[in-house]
């Protein structure tokens, strides 16, 4: 629980004045609210009943002042006006309090939201592979919303209720100690059961939350895998699993409902009993003349005034424990170390030779690359062939620092400079990497291709799209380059996605380009067409092509064959064929010579 105030303060930085204004306004508003019952009591006793007045000094003096000045002779009218004025002033303060609290909470939450987004953008790739998207989004949205609601509605409530109770008690005790004691005696009882229930509710809430998470995962898995579900006719199986989670979720909530009912029912009884006690005891005293009727009414009205806030306290306490869970989950994201700008990182020219020297790398236990050494000559085309899981993609990840090579695991040099000393944004911005399963943003095709370069004209975009052999396909859409892709737009085939991703990378005009199996979904003719166009348009750039297809790799200046994380062979197409090794075997298989 201690994290709540600390974290909130951290995000509220710069917005504290709104909070202070809000608290002040709220205090003044409740003070004004308290005056009304006092005036009513006074009116009944003094003006109507004609007994001795009991009213705070300054107000009394004001009242007398107005009376003696004789401006308005009818005391009742004065009292009525007092009540009205009090309520208007209280209204204004209430407005100020709410608006300032709203500003404070919204600005703070906006800070939090922006910070979270920025952080998720800067978290290393490794972190993303280890965390479930649904879970992160849930934290960034619902957990933030829980925090927001708490800040907006409950934070000030806690203070307001505190002020309310203390003020009410002070006034009550100043009027009549005995009745005040009767009323105050209920406070510990209320506090006890409130704490008891709020702990229970928080626990049950947590279970409900988890059950909801599981249910969400079921729905998400089913929907994303809908093609697999259908292909195996597993609708019944899926529905059974869903129903199981759905029922579990429901029963958790039912249990919570029972607890809530008990909590609120008990609250209802106890707080009304408080009114009853004050009424009965007060009536006894009043009938004996120990207190005036006006005072009795003041007591009843105060008891009523503090009854609701005290009941609300239970709700607030259970919300508070929920918020602390939410904040903890948000903090887990923010505490994950992000990629920071590195001081002293340099930006050397990258149109130089690339050298891997004795590189060994592991994601976990088994090494993916074992003592790999090779050199890619500047402006050459370099092909990589290897079995599934042989570590081909890892080479590109290490080159553009999606993963950093640990010390003592070899060196990766570009033009003799260790990549670990090169600034990440610079390095990645100058190594055009086309991924195996590229991601397109839900924007237009034009914006997608132009995303990294922004503001180039359509002509340039089409030029690159033509090289990637996708211009024709795009123009065949009714909206052409303005077609929106992804979530809310057309569904593109795997091949179309790969080609758009190639065009996107070409826009960056990089000195180094990497194609990570990025033509696997294309037929051979299109594949050849693209490579031809690339050769003409990327002269001077170093090109790395990863593929399973000999036809894709054979025109490369150098081809490296990876086997189980080690370099098996390296050389040109002709040299490798002569070696009669792995490359030759794969070549023969693919040309259909050996069946």
């Amino acid at each position: 629980m201690e994290t709540i105030p600390k974290m909130m303060l951290q995000f509220a930085r710069g917005n504290k004045r709104f909070f202070l204004i809000s608290v002040l306004a709220s205090a003044l508003a409740s003070l004004m609210g308290f005056l009304t019952p006092l005036i009513v009591g006074f009116t009944i006793d003094d003006v109507i009943g004609g007994t001795e007045a009991s009213m705070p000094g300054p107000l009394m003096r004001l009242y007398e002042f107005i009376l003696t000045r004789g401006i308005i002779t009818n005391a009742l009218i004065i009292c009525a006006i007092f009540v009205a004025v009090c309520s208007i002033v209280a209204g204004i303060f209430n407005y100020l309090s709410r608006v300032n609290m709203a500003k404070c909470a919204e600005r703070t939450i906006r800070n939090l939201r922006d910070k979270l987004y920025k952080h998720t953008q800067n978290l290393p790739f490794e972190w993303h592979t280890k965390n479930l998207t649904g879970d992160i989004i849930q934290r960034c949205t619902s957990d933030v919303e829980t925090t927001r609601r708490f800040m907006l509605q409950q934070l000030i409530e806690v203070l307001r209720i505190g002020i309310l109770i203390v003020t009410a008690l002070i006034i009550m005790f100043s009027i009549n100690v005995r009745v005040a004691l009767v009323s105050a005696a209920f406070l510990p009882i209320i506090l006890t059961y409130t704490i008891y229930f709020s702990i229970r509710i928080a626990k049950e809430f947590h279970k409900c939350d988890e059950a909801e998470g599981e249910l969400m995962v079921r729905v998400q898995e089913n929907l994303t895998g809908v093609r697999v579900v259908r292909a195996f006719g597993r609708e019944r199986y899926e529905t059974d699993m869903f129903n199981e989670k759905n029922v579990a979720f429901t029963s958790k909530w039912l249990k919570l409902g029972t607890t809530f009912g008990m909590f609120w029912g008990v609250g209802d009884i106890v707080s009304t009993m408080q009114s009853l006690a004050v009424l009965v005891y007060g009536s006894v005293l009043a009938s004996q003349g120990a207190i005036s009727i006006g005072d009795l009414l003041v007591f009843l009205s105060y008891t009523l005034t503090i009854m609701w806030p005290i009941r609300a306290l239970g709700r607030i306490l259970s919300d508070m424990s929920q918020t602390s869970v939410s904040l903890k989950r948000i903090k887990e994201i923010l505490d994950a170390p992000a990629e920071e700008p590195e001081p002293g990182a340099i930006c050397p020219p990258l149109n130089r030779d690339i050298e891997f020297k004795n590189v060994t790398f592991t994601y976990g236990t088994e090494p993916v690359l074992k003592d790999v050494s090779f050199t890619i000559k500047h402006s050459n085309v370099f092909g990589i062939l290897g079995a599934t899981g042989a570590g081909k993609s890892t080479i590109t990840y290490l080159l553009n620092r999606l993963y950093d090579l640990p010390e003592d695991c070899g060196d990766i040099l570009v033009g003799g400079v260790d990549v670990r000393n090169i600034a990440k944004p610079y390095l990645r911005g100058h190594i055009g990497l086309v991924l195996q399963e590229p991601f397109l943003y839900s924007k237009t095709i034009l914006e997608n291709i132009d995303i990294a370069t922004k503001g180039r004209n359509l002509q340039k975009v089409r030029e690159k799209a033509e090289i990637a052999a996708v211009d024709d396909s795009i123009m065949s859409f009714s909206k052409g380059y303005d077609t929106i892709v992804g979530e809310r737009g057309v569904t593109l085939s795997g091949g179309q996605k790969q080609r758009i991703a190639i065009a996107r990378t070409l826009m960056m005009d990089c000195p180094i380009m990497v194609f990570d199996d990025s033509m696997s979904s294309l037929d051979m003719e299109t594949d050849a067409k693209i490579r031809e166009a690339l050769r003409e348009n990327t002269a001077g750039a170093t090109v790395i092509i990863i593929s399973h297809r000999i036809s894709t790799l054979m025109t490369a200046d150098q081809i490296m064959v990876l086997e189980d994380g080690s370099v098996a062979e390296i050389g040109s197409h002709a040299e490798l064929l002569q070696k009669n090794g792995v490359y030759k075997r794969v070549h023969d298989l693919q040309s259909g010579m050996q069946q």
Partner: protein
Amino acid sequence: MSNDTKTQTKGFSLALWRRLGPYFSKIKRRFIIGAVFMLINTVTSASYPLFTRYAIDNFVMRETTEGIGAFAWIFGAVIIVSGLCFAFYIKQLMSIEVSMGLMIRKDCFEHLQKLPLSFFNKNSVGYLMGRVMSDTDRITSMVSWGFSDFVEMLCYIIFCVIFMFILSPMLALIIVAMIPIAILISFYFQRKVIGVNRNIQEITAQISGAYNEGITGSKTSKTLVIEDTNVTEFGKLSQRMSVETVRGLRLNAIMTPLVMSLGSIALAVLLYRGGILVGDNLLQFGILSAFITYAVMVIEPVVFLTSIMSNMMLAQVGIERVTALLGEPETIKDTPEVVEKYGDTFNPKRENWEPIKGEITFENVWFKYPDGDEYVLEDFSLTVPPGTTVALVGETGAGKSTIVNLACRFYEPTRGQVLIDGKPSRDRSQLWLHSSLGYVLQQPHLFSGTLMENIRYGRLEATDAEIIAAAKLVSADVVADRMPEGYDSNVGEGGDMLSTGEKQLISFARAVLANPPIFVLDEATSSIDTETELLIQNAISHILKGRTSFIIAHRLSTITRADLILVVEGGRVSERGTHAELLEKQGRYAQLYRAMQEGVQA
């Protein structure tokens, strides 16, 4: 239904709420029980000021404590009854809320299982999740809490008014006169609040969309170095959210004190008028004090009432969307006769299922996508005898996958028909056909869970040994060997921990385990290296023996072995025959074949 539909009705629509009728009727009893508890609780709560009045008039004014003990007992008993009713009422409400949620979610989910695949091309997962989860929540909480709060507040106000008129009609008029003014003011503000809230809903959806894209696309964003662009764009969205929210809160902040001050004005007038009446001995003290309490008690619920109504308008959007989903037509549906005989998706009558031989016939099949205007397949006829391996060759987007999807009845022909074992596929049970399929896709989907669980999806009752055997058969055991916990290793969300090639191997094993009479391999090995592929090919050719199969591939070795090769070009089959026949023809296939051979050997 597409994602962009914004059929937001303005104003309250009873017809929309009526669509929830079937759910209401199923939990009618709970509604009635809840209403009874609520009624008792409301009447007793509204009667509390009467007790105050009684105490003042009978004890305080008469200066006696006679009978105060009995008074306390009665009042206490009323309080306990009221409290207990309140507890039961809350419990009933929760139960109504979650039971209704249970039913709506179940219906949505089951309906989604029956919708055609083309539906899922148009609607994103995030959008559909929103319908099943958050919209349902919004509806049910409105139906239970909103609806009952509404009735409760209304009853409360009515009872208070009745009590007031019984006590003193004249003073009652003073307070009652304020109610319409309070309602008018509230409505004026609520209308504005609804507008703001709709904007907020829209922006909220965009924000979670932005998070989704920012996270799933993080690898791509990093390689393109566009993190800053993304952050700037998100910042704009976040700012809009902030501005709109403050606007909505400001409206609320004005409205509540404004309406509440009406109560105070009523109180002021009451004091003045009542004071004079009491002074003239025309009114009892007790009655005046009861009215003072009422003045505060009546106005607040009015604000609440109007805010419930504005929330109901927002919930209406949810109802619209959920009922639209439930009303989405099942365009591919088994006929009642088929369901009668073979059962439906959820209750199959397997005992009536005929064994499938695997003969597939296309009779003058034309096809276009529901939302497209061009035919992607034109006048296609073909008979695939049982046990035949058909290879489909052609450019990306030529219509190869369409043929396969029609054979599997994931799509239905626009014109013409597909026959399975001589009977039109429309007269067949979908589940029967799908249960006989082994479908391996180019972009394979794995579920989060272990390797073992993923392969088992092919045949749920398979033993571990059978699963491992299936994996070995297609060389997927290398994936398990590489993973830290073997077959019990987690594959991550959508199989993210594995490379595309590895995912293809696992989904291959999954299909093999199913042991289906019909196999479909759609670019199933495109990301698998050649040597592994060769191993699989040998295994597969054993497996495919005696089974009907469709193979879409770019690789020669896969294609040349097929019994029948179809060359698909622009939605038409331009050539068909065996490898040897087609080579002899010297047509498009021969041209493709040579290009591929030269490509490798040059």
